[in-house]
């Protein structure tokens, strides 16, 4: 007897829906044993996670705040994934976007709110886009692997921002601490419901809608999907793959760059070291779990928000160590990825040894 994997002929819509739900249930049961081992009632803990992240206006607003950069970056990454282009550089593109927006906010001399917003938005898109566009150009022109280029350019972007905040952009009134000056009110997003929820979240939803329409309803979107699934056929049909690769990576980076704009204009009001605690990398998981769909990115980002915000309460109420929170989050992601596998494959018991 032997256990083998076999590709499913078709994966039913029912399975597609239930597999992730079941996988989260499996993860919760596994984590439940861990919680029991530390003397915490799992049901109480789960109730607390949901209550903390969704049970009040404040909790919900924090979950949405947390999801906002993930939606932007997730959309950017998923657009590239759609074309089988692996943009691992969303983290760096977020930093570049934050840098561009900060430049406009502090040094452009604009004072009108709407002009500032438009300028910061454009600067973030251009900076993020150019950053990813470099990888796109290299890939289109010389077939340079975009995974390596986008990944390594993350470090350059982070160090470039460090250079600016430690050097030329340092706040003259900031006692030589590595922070830029704070933005004027005109360069900040509006807040809602007396919480930290800011316009960036609604911009993210709008961005998701536009991307959806772009992919599903335009010729360009169609071309991207065709090139992604069969580049040779696309070339045969006369599609210009090189230009499309560059354009897709540019747009992908531009959207990730807007995440940086949203973080500095909506939350931090200044540029500093560590402006993104790894949103760009989480976005890769988000895009993967969302199966590259815009709606999926929103749902998965919100789930991530629930996990991160709810995780706080486990620490606060039961003093569980941070390592447990990481393990818990990892367990859920692991099970979701496993579900992804079982949607496409199934396990089969085979008698005897298999020759093949």
């Amino acid at each position: 007897m032997k256990l083998v994997t076999e590709r499913r002929d078709i994966s039913s819509p029912l399975l597609r829906f239930f597999a992730p739900v079941a996988s989260i249930a499996v993860a919760l049961v596994c984590a439940g044993f861990l919680l029991l081992a530390t003397g915490v009632n799992p049901l109480e803990a789960y109730r607390e996670i949901l209550y903390e992240s969704l049970g009040s206006v404040y909790g919900l607003s924090e979950t949405l705040v947390k999801a906002t950069p993930l939606i932007f970056a997730g959309l950017g990454v998923s657009l590239a994934f759609r074309m089988q282009i692996w943009n691992i550089g969303a983290e760096g593109q977020i930093y570049m976007g934050a840098m561009g927006a900060t430049w406009v906010a502090l040094f452009s001399g604009l004072t009108n709110h709407w002009l500032l917003m438009a300028g910061m938005f454009a600067a973030a898109m251009i900076c993020g886009g150019v950053w990813a566009g470099v990888a796109g150009f290299l890939r289109a022109r010389w077939e340079v692997n975009e995974v390596i280029v986008t990944l390594l350019m993350n470090y350059i972007a982070i160090l470039l921002v460090d250079f600016l905040v430690y050097g030329p952009w340092r706040d003259p009134q900031g006692f030589n601490f590595p922070l830029t000056a704070q933005f004027a009110d005109a360069a900040r997003f509006a807040n809602y419901f007396d919480t930290r929820l800011h316009s960036g979240f609604f911009l993210a939803l709008l961005c998701a809608l536009l991307l959806y329409l772009f992919m599903e309803r335009t010729i360009w979107g169609y071309q991207i999907r065709v090139i992604g699934s069969n580049p040779q056929a696309a070339r045969y049909a006369g599609m210009r793959t090189g230009k499309t690769i560059f354009a897709v990576l540019f747009i992908s980076g531009a959207i990730a760059g807007v995440a940086g704009f949203s973080e500095v204009a909506g939350l931090q009001y200044r540029l500093s070291h560590g402006i993104s605690p790894g949103y760009g990398y989480t976005a890769i998981i988000v895009a993967w779990l969302a199966r590259r769909s815009a709606v999926g990115v929103i749902i998965v980002s919100l789930l991530m928000g629930v996990l991160l915000v709810g995780g706080d309460s486990l620490q606060m109420l039961w003093q569980l160590p941070i390592a447990f929170i990481y393990a818990f989050q990892g367990l859920i992601l692991f099970c979701l990825l496993a579900a992804d596998f079982f949607i496409v494959y199934r396990l089969k018991l085979v008698r005897g040894t298999r020759h093949g």
Binding site: Y166, G167, D312, I322
Partner: protein, 356 residues
């Protein structure tokens, strides 16, 4: 006459009653930590202080949240502590500054203590220690123990606090050994044992025979122990990580301050201030010296310790020049607190990069 007395008495009675109520305040403290409590360094030292404070009869069991990212993330955690009824909140890293001020502005009835920043408010104090004093003393020891006259310094970020420590250390080194140089490697992280270990090894590779560090993990000590060099720790008495290599360590004694602050809040005598205490107040100290340090060096350290405590000696006293030869402090003067808090130059003898 009598009629007038009654309201007066009533008012007096009320005042006494109110202040008696205020003086009976139970302390429910919350701590926001930048690393895990098991880091054996910075966060560990704060947590020791927290436990010491908990011994007070009017302090309820306190809460800590570990590994909280600096920046906008931290506002949610601080807010969470407020919402769960904590009335004295310690935020123990520089990057929590904006978030602390922000949450404090919305919660005037809660007292906030922010470590190492420069912004205060009516309900926010800052607190920090004159770590440059024991740093200077440890420099005397390093300068005496080096044979190759190369001392390595593993440092986190080029911010004033760290630069001040490196300069004080180097001044201590050069006070006994004008030939010795201090080589600095920046890690750009507070806590990353792998990166810290690599930095320490690279310093040993260029010939350093004494290491010092401004990091949260004990990786530098382990590197020195493995290669037979001497090492000076930081944060807490880390000798068990390097039984042979360990010379001493500038250490924090937060318990003394936390106990004092909790008592002030309890008594209603707390007021917003900028606390910067040193050897004299016992907030900072030098861990017990290793047996390997010769008698005359011990005596010199003891003598300087007394002089610093008595105020007759200051590590940053003139004539003091930066390494380009520009005069910073004139002969007969000592550096002002404001200048020390925004320090952004290296003294002669330091080899390392620093952006202007």
């Amino acid at each position: 006459m009598k009629k007038a007395l009654i309201p007066v008495l009533l008012a007096v009675f009320l005042c006494v009653g109110v202040s008696a109520w205020a003086a009976d305040k139970q302390i429910k403290a919350g701590f926001v930590y930048v690393g895990p409590v098991g880091d054996a360094g910075w966060t560990f030292a704060h947590d020791e202080g927290r436990k010491e404070m908990e011994q007070l009869p009017f302090v309820e069991p306190s809460t800590f949240i570990e590994s909280v990212p600096e920046g906008a993330e931290s506002a949610r955690v601080i807010n969470g502590l407020v919402r769960r009824g904590h009335n004295l909140i310690f935020t123990t890293s520089f990057g929590y500054m904006d978030a602390t001020i922000d949450v404090a502005a919305r919660n005037k009835d809660v007292i906030f203590m922010h470590c190492s920043g420069y912004k205060t408010a009516e309900n926010v104090s800052t607190y920090f220690g004159r770590m440059y004093e024991p740093r200077y003393l440890s420099g005397i020891i390093a300068g005496s123990m080096t044979k190759k006259n190369i001392i390595g310094f593993v440092a986190a970020f080029p911010i004033p606090e760290v630069i001040r420590g490196i300069n004080a250390f180097t001044l201590g080194v050069r006070s006994v050994n004008p030939e010795a140089q201090v080589r600095v490697v920046w890690t750009q992280t507070w806590f990353d044992p792998g990166v810290e270990r690599d930095a320490a090894d690279s310093l040993l590779d260029v010939g350093a025979d004494v290491l010092a560090m401004h990091q949260d993990a004990p990786a530098t000590l382990q590197a020195a122990e493995a290669r037979g060099a001497y090492v000076i720790g930081y944060n807490s008495d880390m000798r068990h990580f390097a039984p042979n290599a360990f010379l001493t360590a500038p250490v924090w004694n937060w318990g003394a301050l936390y106990t004092r602050l909790a008592t002030e809040v309890h008594n209603g005598t707390w007021k917003s201030e900028q606390i910067w205490s040193g050897l004299k107040e016992n907030l900072v100290d030098l861990a017990p010296l290793s047996e390997r340090i010769p008698e005359d060096v011990r005596n010199l350290v003891q003598e300087r310790t007394e002089a610093i405590k008595a105020g007759t000696f200051h590590p940053f006293s003139g004539p003091l020049k930066d390494r380009d030869g520009t005069e910073i402090v004139a002969a007969g003067q000592v550096m002002s607190d404001a200048d020390m808090l925004s320090m952004n130059f290296f003294v002669e003898g330091v080899h390392g990069t620093l952006s202007k």
